[in-house]
């Protein structure tokens, strides 16, 4: 496996691009998949977004300037692709993004690729009530286990701002879980 700097150089060179890209996919597919999955909930949607993400990375690799780390840039693309996907899906179905997310959580009950219990479903319901950006911050911190410093680079937001948003999200989720019956 190439170190990130060499990988970027190989990706930006015609002769070595395709092989370097294969390495990139091998290295990052799982981390990106789970980040996306935690945002879109459904496996098929996550699969689509993951592919879109890598295609976007391939198409835009020449314009990657190295102002951030490569994996930071990729996480950012993945987050944007997931949000774009959800917005488009909501628009196609003529519903709000909030209703789309509620529907996605409701479908977990019969989803063959969800083997969580009622409390885990309830937890997803709570997350779905958060504003979009707060959901993103919460899921990336809690499930993907990014540090606040990493998140700060990915989301281009201050560490202080992220911590504040995250802790508010935790409070809201706790309140939701306490005040709503598990169904």
């Amino acid at each position: 496996m190439l170190a990130e700097k060499e990988l970027v150089a190989a990706l930006q060179t015609d002769g070595s691009r395709d092989e370097a890209f294969r390495q990139l996919v091998t290295q990052y597919k799982e981390r990106l998949y789970w980040q996306i999955r935690n945002m879109v909930l459904n496996h098929d949607d996550a699969d689509d977004v993951l592919q879109n993400t890598f295609i976007k990375v391939y198409r835009n690799i020449d314009s990657f300037r190295g102002n951030s780390k490569l994996h930071t840039w990729m996480y950012r693309i993945a987050a944007n692709e997931a949000i774009t996907f959800l917005n488009k899906k909501a628009k196609r179905n003529n519903i709000s993004i909030e209703n789309l997310k509620s529907e996605a959580v409701r479908k977990l009950e019969t989803d063959v690729y969800f083997d969580g219990d009622a409390f885990q479903r309830h937890f997803q319901k709570a997350i779905a009530t958060l504003p979009e950006r707060q959901q993103l911050i919460f899921t990336m911190k809690y499930f993907s286990e990014h540090t606040f410093e990493e998140l700060s680079e990915i989301l281009e937001t201050s560490v202080g701002g992220l911590k504040s948003s995250y802790h508010i999200a935790v409070k809201k989720i706790t309140e939701f879980v306490k005040n709503n019956e598990i169904k």
Binding site: D18, F21, R22, V25, T26, K29, E30, Y33, W34, R37, N38, L41, H43, D47, L50, Q51, F54, I55, K56, Y58, R59, N60, S63, I77, N80, T84, N87, K88, K91, L108, Y113, F114, D115, G116, D117, F119, Q120, R121, F123, Q124, Y142, F143, K163, Y166, H167, V170, K171, I173, T174, V177
Partner: protein, 168 residues
């Protein structure tokens, strides 16, 4: 003889103590949350997805349309045209004539876009804007900086924007 009190000269981040309680209680609340989201994946998914992605990327490369114009300046002209479309929608102008915009052959750009040759997405467009540097577009009395356009793109990238420039 009295003992000198040793006070260590440590410092703490700003607002550390005022934020400490919030952070501590948030951590305690998190202890009640499920450790995993409960998602699973089809057997062999990660083995298969890699070849799917590579296939798609290579197919994408093969079907990339040969541009009408070989020189890179066309992409900049298209970027400028897209910015003008946004500017028009911001300032509610529908009657642009070629006399008001110098040196941009709009009909050629329109044909280029209509023929599906504009495979540019938000990232590519904003990168072209970065390449243009500090370009201020003057639309009669209105001046729009490329920073304002970039922010507008970031906020309104979906829906109308994509329909306006014919990108799927």
């Amino acid at each position: 003889m009295s003992k000198k009190k040793h006070i260590p000269k440590f410092e703490v981040p700003q607002d550390y103590f005022s934020n400490f309680e919030d952070q501590l209680f948030a951590r305690l609340e998190e202890e009640q949350f499920p450790a995993t989201p409960g998602f699973r994946i089809p057997n062999g998914y990660f083995d298969g997805v890699e070849s799917k992605i590579i296939k798609k990327v290579l197919a994408d490369k093969k079907h990339k349309t040969i541009p009408l114009f070989q020189r890179n300046y066309t992409k900049y002209a298209v970027a400028i045209a897209a910015c003008l479309v946004i500017a028009i929608s911001i300032y509610n102008r529908n009657d642009i004539s070629e006399q008001t915009i110098n040196n941009i052959q709009l009909s050629k750009i329109d044909s280029y876009i209509d023929d599906g040759n504009l495979e540019m997405d938000l990232y590519e467009l904003t990168h072209y804007l970065n390449d243009l540097g500090d370009l201020d577009l003057n639309l009669n009395d209105a001046t729009i900086s490329n920073t304002a356009i970039e922010e507008y793109l970031m906020e309104h990238a979906e829906g109308d924007f994509w329909m306006d420039i014919g990108v799927d």
